[in-house]
């Protein structure tokens, strides 16, 4: 299936979960916030959350800023 992650399109096997994706992206242990289709997806739900074809994900963290 195709998804958009932070604006890039990605090809993932059907049934991939969010936690699998985060692990694949090396973000398993990184403090991030996730927005799925413009709705916040609480961290509590990340585990085993099934992604679907066409999902748009935003994964953000904190960086230096004034």
């Amino acid at each position: 299936m195709h998804l958009s992650v932070n604006g890039d399109s990605m090809q993932l096997p059907a049934g991939t979960t969010l936690s699998e994706l985060l692990t694949q992206l090396g973000l398993a242990n990184v403090k991030v916030a996730v927005e799925l289709n413009r709705e916040i997806l609480p961290r509590s739900k990340h585990h085993d959350y099934p992604l679907s074809h066409g999902d748009a994900l935003e994964i953000v963290h904190a960086i230096g800023g004034g």
């Binding site: 992206l25 973000l27 413009r38 916040i40 961290r43 994964i59 953000v60 963290h61 904190a62 004034g66």
Partner: protein, 262 residues
Amino acid sequence: MTKIDSPLTIAGKTYQSRLIVGSGKYRDFEQNLTALQASGAEMITVAIRRVNLGQNPDEPNLLEVISPREYTILPNTAGCYTAADAVRTCRMARELLDGHKLVKLEVLGDQKTLYPNVTETLIAAEELVKDGFDVMVYTSDDPLIAKRLEELGCVAVMPLGAPIGSGLGIRNPYNLRMILESARVPIIVDAGVGTASDATVAMELGCEGVLMNTAIAEAQNPVLMAQAMKHAVIAGRQAFLAGRMPRKLYASASSPIDGTFF
């Protein structure tokens, strides 16, 4: 001193330091942390941005270097030019920081001047307060807008001294005085400070605090400038509380005139 002054209180939390610093424009996290410690600040702003996909997972993370357990993290909405983007950014920040409610709202007008867009700021402030955020709001030095932001329920109003990153100091102390005269929440000068005396002047006017980033990060020696700013804010606060001498066009002798022997 402590007898006379009371600590800065924002959203129910008290701070001994009246200096708030940023985390942008530093050479690296190490320099940022050293400057933060030198400044004595207890609150530091951060920006919310997309993670870089395919980044090295071992790459250090800002919040591992500057710990939310030691410092109050103030996520900002830098880069937002609409109320909608600012609100969305604050919600992402709240999720990222495990329900953290304190945010710095800034909605700017254009990338050239970075001047605040006060009408979008009013809209965003209202929505964020409704949604339960504690909003510290960056705005212009327009005293009516500052008053309305206070009335909307912002926990601190932060007028500019001069445009972001300009280092021009407090361009219009008269407007700040108008804002201060009727304020019922902390007024914190945000943006414009270029050197220590600018921070001292802001505090002497009666502001409750000063927020700065570029003045420290772009000094030739950021850590030393951070120390300077720590002293500058204390000096200005103490001078405000001490009550300055009156100005006179004419002199008055500091040594008595009686008793001269010549």
